[in-house]
Symmetry: D3
Subunit: 61 residues, 6 copies
């Protein structure tokens, strides 16, 4: 606690994901006062065929 979920399109590489969880965790610790070891981060990746904005999937653009 806190629990952070980042939902984004697939395609980021491993270094980006490693940096993402580090920086997001720091941001949460700094602003909420939670202790670092209590912060969990989950990455959820979406495919372009499972995500639409304005009624159109990214895979159909």
């Amino acid at each position: 606690m806190p629990y952070v979920t980042v939902k984004m399109l697939e395609g980021r590489n491993d270094e980006q994901k490693k940096a993402l969880v580090e920086k997001v965790t720091e941001a949460v610790v700094e602003t909420t006062g939670a202790s670092k070891d209590k912060v969990a981060v989950f990455i959820e990746e979406m495919s372009k065929s499972d995500y639409a904005v304005g009624g159109k999937r990214l895979s159909d653009e």
Copy 2:
């Protein structure tokens, strides 16, 4: 905003998923007054081995 998540068993084909996001987006726009380009839809597919009703997974039926 609004953000719509549709969680369902895997197996729908690409045309069904394309139609799903179109029709669901229209339904949301029509009833909430949100502008179409602000509506996001996420499809999440489940495997039969990860979904149970009444304590029994669909893969065990």
Copy 3:
């Protein structure tokens, strides 16, 4: 199954929410072939102080 979650800002009235679940359910049935009584819809309302785009909460605009 399917399970649909609509996350949106609070403020829609009861008639809008009633229409929303009806129309979204019809859209899902029509496009996925699911039987109507199997479709569940959840509405989740957000406060403007708990939702941000571009790093700014709607309550701070």
Copy 4:
């Protein structure tokens, strides 16, 4: 209803997942009074590269 989601690291085998949904469903029925056939359970598995505690992914340890 109730709807139960169990999010955990991938790696449990099929027997464990089968037992998990059975036992969790029983626990929910026993304590909430819901009828068994109304309880749905979803299993969501995470990869070690998409899950971090304390700013560090399990795949980086």
Copy 5:
């Protein structure tokens, strides 16, 4: 880890919720081999006006 979310209609009393998290946690520990102190449970309560099955909200029945 594991993280368990139980989504249900509001109305259970405090004793039921206390028992629910205890029993569900035991079920998860017993079947997944996770250590008890690693299991987190979240209860999310829904209003009858925000939940529909078959296109009809429970508050409209």
Copy 6:
């Protein structure tokens, strides 16, 4: 896209929540390359009576 959800105990004040969404958004932009105006952040607050670790709710400790 990306969509970030921060789930935490209720009790942070408005300034903390404002800073949280700012800093988390910056962290996501910096590490994923997403444009800032595409990042959405949702805050979800939990009550101590709806959250348990190790089978015990925080409200029962």
